[in-house]
Symmetry: C2
Subunit: 120 residues, 2 copies
DNA sequence: GACTTATATTAGTTTGGATTGATATTAAGA
DNA sequence: TCTTAATATCAATCCAAACTAATATAAGTC
């Protein structure tokens, strides 16, 4: 399932927002989300499965409990796609922000050749 | 229609990627996307409608043509939601990057009161 | 082992959105 | 005005995904 399809569902978005506050057991999610959306345990469990399988959440077992937390993989993928367009609304910061975000790896030790003025 | 539902469709995502290269007439989009996905003019037109109405594209008329371009409103909304989680994968850059991205508006002239050390 | 608690899975039903074919709208050109 | 071109809209069909009820699995407790 594509990352954007995953986030297209309001229940899944809400679950992620909750997980952002920290690890939660499946049961806690069921209680919260179930009440908020009026859906059953089965439904919530299925949403958690989708989040797992699409890289938005990870699980660890503790006895019978399953503790869920945010997995950044999915979120990064979304951010990467949006990144294609970021220069549309952040044109000024672009040069500087990129420089900083990328850790200045590139330019750092570029010996300044004749054609290093501008690349496309 | 919610922003994530809009981007959940592969056809709409592809249309946006094309628009990112610059303004396109509806007919051009139909030709390109229609060929790529094997769908009709009606289908493409309806996708364009969704993109319009959800703030991902704008149109201007020129004779019978409708020229579409990227509207950042929708993309910003997506970026804002993802922003909730950005500190999950950019913890180090957080302070500095935020400072720069926000234009240092906040701190700049904050007179440093007693309780300005940390806010929850 | 029987029972309970926590969670996942399965099968079947329902529903919203994507698509098509047909038609409407709008502007230009003869 | 009649015709062609470009695009949008409508009604009907179809399908995938969300949901429920029921059941399965697995780990604690008595």
């Amino acid at each position: 399932m594509h990352v954007f399809e995953v986030l297209a569902d309001p229940v899944r978005r809400r679950i992620l927002e909750q997980l952002a506050h920290g690890e939660m057991a499946s049961g806690e999610v069921v209680e919260l989300i179930g009440a908020e959306f009026g859906i059953t345990q089965a439904a919530v469990s299925q949403h958690l499965k989708v989040l797992r399988e699409s890289g938005f959440a990870t699980v660890r077992a503790e006895a019978q409990r399953r503790l869920y937390s945010v997995d950044v993989a999915g979120l990064r993928a979304v951010d990467a796609w949006i990144g294609q367009f970021r220069n549309f609304w952040e044109p000024k910061l672009d040069a500087l922000a990129t420089e900083i975000a990328r850790g200045k790896r590139e330019r750092r030790n570029a010996p300044m050749t004749k054609r290093s003025g501008k690349r496309a």
